[in-house]
Amino acid sequence: MSADGLRLAPDAPLLSVHGISRTFGGVRAVVDISLSAPIGQITGLIGPNGAGKSTTLGIVAGAIRPTAGSIQFAGRDVTKLPSYRRARLGMVRTFQMRGEFDRLTVLENLLVAAPGQLGEKIRNIYSIRRTWRRQQRELVDQARGLLDQFGILSHQNVYAAELSGGQRRLMELARALMAKPRLLLLDEPMAGVSPTLRDRLAEHLRDVADSGIAIVLVEHELQFVEQVCGHVLVLAQGTVIGEGKMSALREQAAVLDAYLTG
């Protein structure tokens, strides 16, 4: 994916989030968080449980409304857009838990994600049957190519519910790519992934970023974050308490405190 069609200053980040906050009842889950995600880079969000990482990701993806702040994507204010509209602009997320369509096969899970399917319009189903079926065959090939890349092609006809935890992550990533994203928002892509798969997943993510996609990921696995993320934000109690390279963050007292004291 290139960034064609973007009206961005050459060095402007694809995503910039300004001062977003969210309160749930009296609980301040996210307080004045700003971040940006440039094309080709992997930005990490880390922090102890309850730090507001997933909420931040949910706000960026459009699943949760912020109580303050704004979100710019590709030079456009998307703060008020519902999640499906953001997805159509190329902001695609994965989920921490239960992101699959259980009773759809792995291949179908990917097909759902493909944008611009002619056969999704009801009038086309009956009028241009041949055309959408041809398009669908092409998408099936594309999806199989992605599954092959991620090493789960042999599971293409298995229901997503029957996959192991690690295979689900791979499938979700492949599915997100099927959606032709410009920005990937990954919520704990390593959860449930075996150590042997970890290196492969890291490699995939770097390839994806290199292909011109911006990635923001939330992750607990710090080694993995160090492995893949150029820029890292540390969240605790809903605010950013440090940011920079992972190696530098490891030295900061506030970051260590947040992790040790929770």
Binding site: L107, V112, I125, Y126
Partner: protein
Amino acid sequence: MSAAWQFYIATLIIYSFVYITAAAGLNLQFGLTGVYNFAFIIFQAAGAYCTAVLSLGSPGALGGFQRYILGLHLPFPVPLLASAVVAGVLGVGLGALTVRRLRADYLAIVMLVISLIATGVVTDYQGLFNGAAGLALIPQPFSSLTSSSVGYDWIYAAVAGVICALVLLAVRMMIESPLGRSLRAVRENENAAAALGKNVTALRLLVFGLGGAIAGISGSLLVSFTQAWSPSSWVYTETFVLFTALIVGGTGSNLGPIVGAVLVPVVLAEGSRYLPQFGPPTLVPSLEWIAIGVVLLAFLWFWPRGIVPEPRRIFPPAAVSRPPTPQRARGPVVRDLEREGGPSQ
């Protein structure tokens, strides 16, 4: 075969087509998209009333013993098509009020209440569709074709069969399309579907409209045959008969609604007719409801996917489905088996 038997069998066949059509509409909503429309029967009723008031002619011409709105006398298939449109619009309207804000179980409760309210309104507002007494003498659309009443029933059965087949075909094409796949995705996980660019509300409204329209068609077919329609024809429990039919037959599959609609409302309900009469007169009809409930529970417990479960969609390998290009012309299925167990990269 005696005329009585012919009449009986033709009636059963027509009822089957009506129930199959309705179940196909419900399958679109509940089986495919996971929408709990517990007011499904009011869309059938809307279709039936629409056909009635568009074919009865003016109330005065019939002696003025029943009151209703419109009172037009339009030829077939205008009332049928109008019924589909009216019930479809009603579906989108009620859907717009509910699906935007409510999720599965709350939607179910609200729709059930809407069903009860609809019955109340039609019963109490006499000028609309003649209240609790309902409408009678609804004309038969093809009565000019034959003078024999048994012959008429067979003609009607054929017409109902054709319409039912067309509805099934249209639903089947939709189920097998990318749209059908997106609807199943909404059923499985609406948040993930939205995160992949699916407008979940619009998709639910679509099936509310289409399912409503199909229910309307079934109501139109039914009322043109029975020639009478009243609030007792569409009490909310009828919705559960259809849900039972769909669950027994199999949700989300093409054949499920057919199997379920024949087994539950037709065979099971009609079968009670052959029970020897015993106990108080209301006992056997009550047992019929108990039987439907027991069957529903048994299927939900032991065979939740029904007799004809939703099939697993397998796409043909690339070599078969597209013109061969050298690097693509391979059989992934065979290749996959070889790959199984080994790291691929």
